[in-house]
């Protein structure tokens, strides 16, 4: 991209300056992260999201970690992560009065995001199809464990269950198969489903521009995981083999060499030795040579791919020793300077000191009551025509009831026959 940075803070050249989500009103009934993360991505790009919480607060407020490890529904970092910049109102959707209030809100909204299963939503008289029929302009985005239909629709899940049933878990773990598959961290089944929830809403918004009609978008966390196994499904669809998990590298039909190397400071780098390509091979050998650690790899016979491949374990051993003698950051930056695709295994706390992320102003400070500025990840999308929004912290419980309900009820009164 030339010299113009697309960043969060500078002027944008767009004629309108507005983001495509500006003016969009989203009602979020979802309390599961798969639904909440959809609302979060849309807040980051300028949507107005009203979170409807049950009396006492959304379940995510009761999940840690908490600020100072003190359980407090206002101080759940889990809740903060998924609910930045949303407005909070409390409605008791088990009562008809509050369901009526919800329908008034939905009448003025563009999108509703739910994570309620088919059984639960039927009990509350809030089935996705019913919402869609009653509010034809509304996009009803549902993100549930298995989707709203099918033999497993009523099954219960969690992060571990979803990545297990969906397939990705079977590819993750260690070379030693007496150890079970190991769950990758960070609520990834929810995040995967949320990515599709966001895509589904965008497709529905485009369709609504042509037709004036909303629709139901029924996202299944299970299926989202099932289409996010990368090579595993094609290896079954085509040669009909199941891939086998290996430590921190691609699950494959047959074992491959380790790609994780420990460095002098105890940290790791990821580097998959690919011996078939000549250019990276020479880069590697000359790098080893600079430290006097190339052993015999500079010998002429190693110019032959077949010779290298026959000596893979030997080469792997030389590289292991090499990395053990330098710290991980040196390995990462020196390797990359030689165009070798080496990645340092950063810990989350390392990222705040990363010069590249700092130059891109990726983390954005959010002022949180009683805590001060907290750096949050910024929007993962950048556009030259418009900037991401700059949402504030997650709301206090019921912080916005007065403003949201009073303005919406009065604005919606004429179309609903009065309140």
């Amino acid at each position: 991209m030339s010299e113009q940075a697309i960043d969060h803070s500078h002027d944008h050249s767009g004629v309108s300056g507005r983001t495509p989500y500006e003016g969009l009103r989203i009602i979020e009934i979802a309390t599961e992260p798969g639904g909440e993360d959809v609302g979060q991505m849309m807040v980051l790009m300028g949507a107005d999201v009203v979170k409807v919480e049950p009396p006492g607060g959304a379940s995510g407020r009761f999940i840690g970690p908490f600020v100072g490890d003190e359980p407090d529904p206002e101080n759940s970092l889990n809740f903060w992560f998924y609910n930045r910049g949303k407005q909070s109102i409390v409605l008791d959707l088990t009562t008809e009065t509050d369901r009526d209030r919800l329908h008034v809100l939905l009448e003025g909204a563009d999108v509703v995001i739910t994570s309620t299963s088919a059984v639960e939503s039927a009990a509350l008289d809030l089935r996705a199809e019913s919402l869609s029929e009653r509010h034809p302009h509304l996009i009803v985005a549902s993100v549930t464990a298995f989707g709203l239909t099918g033999p497993w629709a009523d099954y219960k899940a969690s992060e571990l269950i979803s990545l297990g049933a969906g397939g990705p878990l079977m590819s993750c773990g260690y070379d030693d198969h007496s150890i079970p598959p190991i769950l990758p961290g960070g609520n990834q089944s929810a995040h995967t489903a949320a990515a599709f929830g966001h895509i589904g809403i965008l497709l529905a918004l485009l369709d609504r521009r042509r037709t004036g009609l909303g629709q139901v978008v029924d996202v299944s966390v299970h299926e989202a995981a099932a289409v996010t196994c990368e090579l595993a499904n094609p290896y079954w669809f085509y040669p009909r083999v199941n891939v086998q998990r290996q430590t921190c590298r691609h699950a494959q039909p047959t074992p491959t060499s380790p790609a994780l190397f420990q460095c002098a400071d105890g940290r790791y780098v990821y580097f998959a030795l690919v011996l078939a390509d000549t250019k990276p091979w020479h880069s590697l050998v000359s790098w080893l040579g600079e430290y006097g650690l190339e052993a015999d790899l500079g010998d002429p016979e190693f110019a032959e791919v077949s010779h290298r491949q026959a000596r893979f374990p030997h080469i792997q051993g030389v590289v292991e020793v090499f990395f053990l003698l330098m710290d991980a950051n040196t390995a990462y930056h020196e390797g990359q300077a030689r165009q070798l695709p080496i990645g340092i295994l950063n810990a989350p706390e390392d990222l705040f000191d990363d010069e590249h992320l700092a130059a891109r102003q990726f983390f954005v400070p959010v002022d949180v009551d009683g805590v001060g500025p907290v750096p949050f990840p910024g929007a993962p999308f950048r556009f030259s025509a418009f900037a991401a929004a700059d949402p504030g912290p997650a709301p206090h419980l019921d912080e916005n009831s007065l403003s949201v309900l009073s303005t919406t009820v009065s604005a919606a009164a004429p179309t609903t026959g009065g309140q």
Binding site: W152, K156, I182, T192, A193, L202, N233, Q246, Q252
Partner: protein
């Protein structure tokens, strides 16, 4: 639902992206998966390849009917580029053309195609598009409302812009690998290029946002999505914990493997089942779920041990608890464990293989997540579809992936107006 091979001629598409034409320079995983979404929903995605350097997924050894399964990295020396299963999976519903961008005529042809397109996409190493003169400013000259989506590991500004990456490198640098594993061991990270998928989904969303923006304002945009930044966005609450609570993730009890720290759940793990390397996952989040589990287990004596008397006690004694649970799962298949526990409302799953998903998963089958299309060389094959159902909008799965140069005549002839003679000349000169 297999489409006959004879209907491979490009025609009118259906879906909300009808009328969107994409000059698609993407290759490998991220870009191909990102533009596949556009192709699925009606956009005319024209995949541009170089005959002398076809897309890598065409070469990866994922073939039907092959005697011995080869791993990624064990490519055949001269594979048929139309045989590759991964390419078929990634490039369905797209058109395929060949342009040699190292020739002036090739670059001129690309300019003409861009003029007739609304979107340009790429995920090359930084500098490649610039070398061909294809900066955003230049694309805007060709087409003032163009959308230019640039998908890269690190983004197109900043000191590490030129760093090389692919899925596992992105997962390492963004922190996703470090937070995954057993305490006291090396990270287990990811056994797949998770970020090739997730960065692709984020890129699809960014493209749709840009298309929506242009429909509303008439204005195009350049898009810069960094896979590393997308990966950091996916870390979850731990990214706040390390800052707000100044807690290090380089500590003895982190990461927590299959155990759940928030909330204190137990049992919560992956348990051995009957069969070789077969497993079931069980997650019990509170007392009421524990009561259901105990019921299914038949209320054995060991549950009365004081160390299992409440959720906190069970959480504190997970090693002992897991021994009992494993003894119960070991005599059952993963699906038996799932079915008997789920029937009583306990969160449980067979840890499914790809074979299970395709052959034994009634939910995937019911929802039609995988679907079949025919291919002239490969024959009928399964594809990973959309993990969602929309009540008014359906994917338009009209064709499997293009053969090399399959749509040169349609694109260069019908769309760009080159005569058969002109196309023949370009072919002879190695331009297309």
């Amino acid at each position: 639902m297999t489409n006959p091979v004879s209907t491979r001629t490009p025609g009118r598409r259906t879906g909300p992206l009808t009328g969107v034409r994409v000059a698609d320079f993407c290759w490998m995983g991220v870009g191909a998966v990102a533009t596949r979404l556009l192709a699925d929903f009606g956009a005319e995605v024209i995949k541009i390849e170089d005959r002398t350097r076809v897309d890598m997924p065409r070469r990866l050894p994922i073939y039907k009917g092959q005697g011995k399964a080869l791993s990624y990295g064990e490519e055949l020396s001269n594979p048929d580029p139309n045989m590759g299963g991964l390419f078929n999976n990634y490039s369905r519903n797209k058109l395929g053309v060949t342009i040699n961008m190292r020739t002036p005529e090739g670059r001129e042809l690309a300019d003409r195609l861009i003029t007739k397109s609304n979107v340009v996409t790429e995920n090359f190493a930084p500098g490649v598009m610039e070398r061909w003169g294809l900066t955003f400013a230049r694309l805007q000259q060709l087409n003032p409302s163009i959308i230019y989506a640039r998908m890269s590991g690190y983004g197109h500004t900043g000191p590490h812009t030129e760093y090389r990456s692919y899925g596992p490198v992105v997962q390492a640098v963004s922190g996703l690998s470090h937070i995954s594993g057993l305490p006291g061991r090396e990270p287990s990270g990811w056994g797949l290029s998770y970020m090739d998928n997730l960065a692709a989904y984020y890129n699809s969303a960014a493209l749709l946002m840009a298309i929506l923006h242009r429909e509303e304002t008439g204005e195009g945009t350049e898009i810069d999505v960094s896979a590393v930044e997308a990966g950091i966005s996916l870390l979850g609450p731990v990214i706040l914990d390390v800052k707000v609570n100044k807690r290090s993730t380089r500590r003895d009890d982190y990461p927590t493997g299959n155990r759940l720290e928030h909330p204190h759940a137990a049992p919560h793990g992956v348990y051995p089942c009957a069969g070789t390397d077969r497993w079931a996952a069980i997650a019990v989040l509170d007392q009421s779920e524990w009561d259901l589990l105990v019921d299914v287990l038949g209320s054995p004596d060991w549950v009365n041990d004081p160390m299992f008397c409440d959720q906190e006690s069970r959480f504190a004694h997970q090693d002992e608890l897991d021994t009992h649970i494993s003894a119960w799962t070991l005599t059952r298949t993963p699906h038996e464990v799932m079915d008997v526990l789920q029937a009583r409302g306990v969160r449980a799953a067979a840890v499914q293989t790809a074979e299970d998903l395709s052959e034994h998963d009634p939910q995937i089958a019911f929802r039609g997540t995988f679907f079949e299309l025919d291919h002239p060389v490969i024959g009928p094959a399964l594809f990973e579809g959309m993990p969602m159902q929309m009540s008014r909008t359906a994917p338009d799965n009209w064709r499997s992936a293009p053969l090399v140069a399959e749509d040169n005549d349609y694109v260069f002839g019908e769309l760009l107006g080159l005569s058969a003679d002109e196309r023949g000349e370009l072919l002879d000169k190695g331009v297309i």
